[in-house]
Symmetry: C2
Subunit: 258 residues, 2 copies
């Protein structure tokens, strides 16, 4: 099977122009087929602030009302996506910016209202691997933002980690997929205050132990849950670390496997 | 040669939800390969207003400073593009939203400063017909917004009529292209106050006469100049009229040919 690198880049890296440029340098240099997934994070909050919109939260989670969806569509789908694509083009990487609506690549369904109504949030139901593969075969690098659609004309806000995971699962039917989560930490840390305490390898058994002893906690819990869901779905390996892990010289990152 | 329909839809049609839906209905029903080009018009001014940005004009023309470019990228490339694409997907048209940076489809150069510095405005230097054709062959419908790039990482604002014209010229090497300019009028009118005075056919000779006698004036001058530039570049015919002209039943529109 051919190798495919899928890279999710975190919001904090996108915020800083220098960090983003360093990331794009590293991403553009990856040999062979690749896919990028980005969120937008604080840039959306910043625009919402400037427009005087209230950020609505319930149980610590953001509610995507119609105005928030509009802001996200402008920031993730417009500003962030187009600037990343232009930046990759200048690095000889033939990128194309996509939401899940583009090419009908990611179909989702409005999250049902249970205790909380999250608003215009979509849960992924289908990744169109065939269309993504056509782009890859045309030597085009898909760059996904955190927006999907319901196929009935409605755009939906969807977590970028989840999109990366679902795209990786779908593409693993045809490719040997490495899924890379790039963020501001060097990986899963034994001691959260020590960047040199990266746990290099975690399998399912170690994962269970690290949850039990509290090493994996808080925001890392859903992140690693996503990673093992990807592995269960056929992804060969998942890596967590700083953007430098995309270069072969870097060895300080966490690799997850079954 | 295979037929290809290229449609430019004007800003006034996009402004109104009803008009946009009627347009998307008509566009989705066009048989065979097709390409859409849209601007964004007043939606960008509206966002600029909300952000308290001053619209800078010189000699009646807008100056695209860095903040204006950001607004345009969010509105044209984000909000308008993604909503049109989602709307087309719901009509079983497999659309993909593109700026000229996406897939390196349209390369431009920063307009040189002569009497006026227009700011981040790009003049098209190359349309990548090969990549556009790959998308069409994958049964994907390209939807272009009025943004291009310089290949060095800079997005540039480019007139949507011009993009339509340049894409049509480039695609006419391989396709028999009909270029359709959809706007709020039924075509070129003999009497500007009478919608029933559409001039059905205009060739180059008639065009020269209509300019001389003042029938073609003001905003129609650059529009028709663009149209004949498209025809000179190999486009088979150019049509001007309301979105209804996209259906075969409509006969009230203007056709231009050499």
């Amino acid at each position: 099977m051919k190798k495919l690198n899928i890279v999710k880049v975190g919001g904090n890296i996108i915020e800083s122009e220098d960090d983003l440029n360093a990331f794009l340098d590293a991403f553009a240099k990856i040999a062979g087929p690749k896919i990028l997934i980005h969120g937008g994070g604080k840039a959306a909050n910043h625009l919402a602030d400037r427009l005087g919109l209230e950020v609505k939260m319930t149980q610590g989670r953001r509610i995507t009302d119609a105005e928030t969806l509009e802001v996200i569509t402008m920031v993730y789908g417009g500003k962030v996506s187009k600037n990343i694509v232009a930046g990759l083009q200048s690095r000889a990487c033939n990128a194309i910016g996509l939401s899940g609506a583009d090419g009908n690549t990611i179909l989702s369904v409005l999250r049902p209202v249970r205790e909380v109504d999250f608003g215009f949030v979509g849960d992924v139901i289908e990744v169109n691997a065939k269309t993504i593969d056509k782009l890859i075969n045309a030597e085009i690098t898909p760059v996904f933002c955190a927006i999907t659609h319901d196929g009935k004309g409605q755009l939906l806000n969807t977590n970028a980690d989840t999109i990366a995971c679902e795209v990786a699962r779908a593409m693993s039917k045809k490719y040997e997929v490495t899924l890379n989560y790039c963020f501001e930490k060097a990986g899963v840390l034994q001691d959260i205050s020590d960047e040199n305490s990266v746990i290099k390898e975690i399998d399912k058994e170690a994962y269970a132990k690290l949850i039990k002893n509290g090493t994996i906690a808080d925001g890392m819990l859903p992140k690693l849950h996503n990673c093992f869901y990807a592995l269960d779905g056929g992804v060969q390996q998942v890596r967590l670390g700083k953007p430098s892990m995309l270069s072969e010289a870097e060895t300080n990152y966490t690799t997850l496997h079954l």
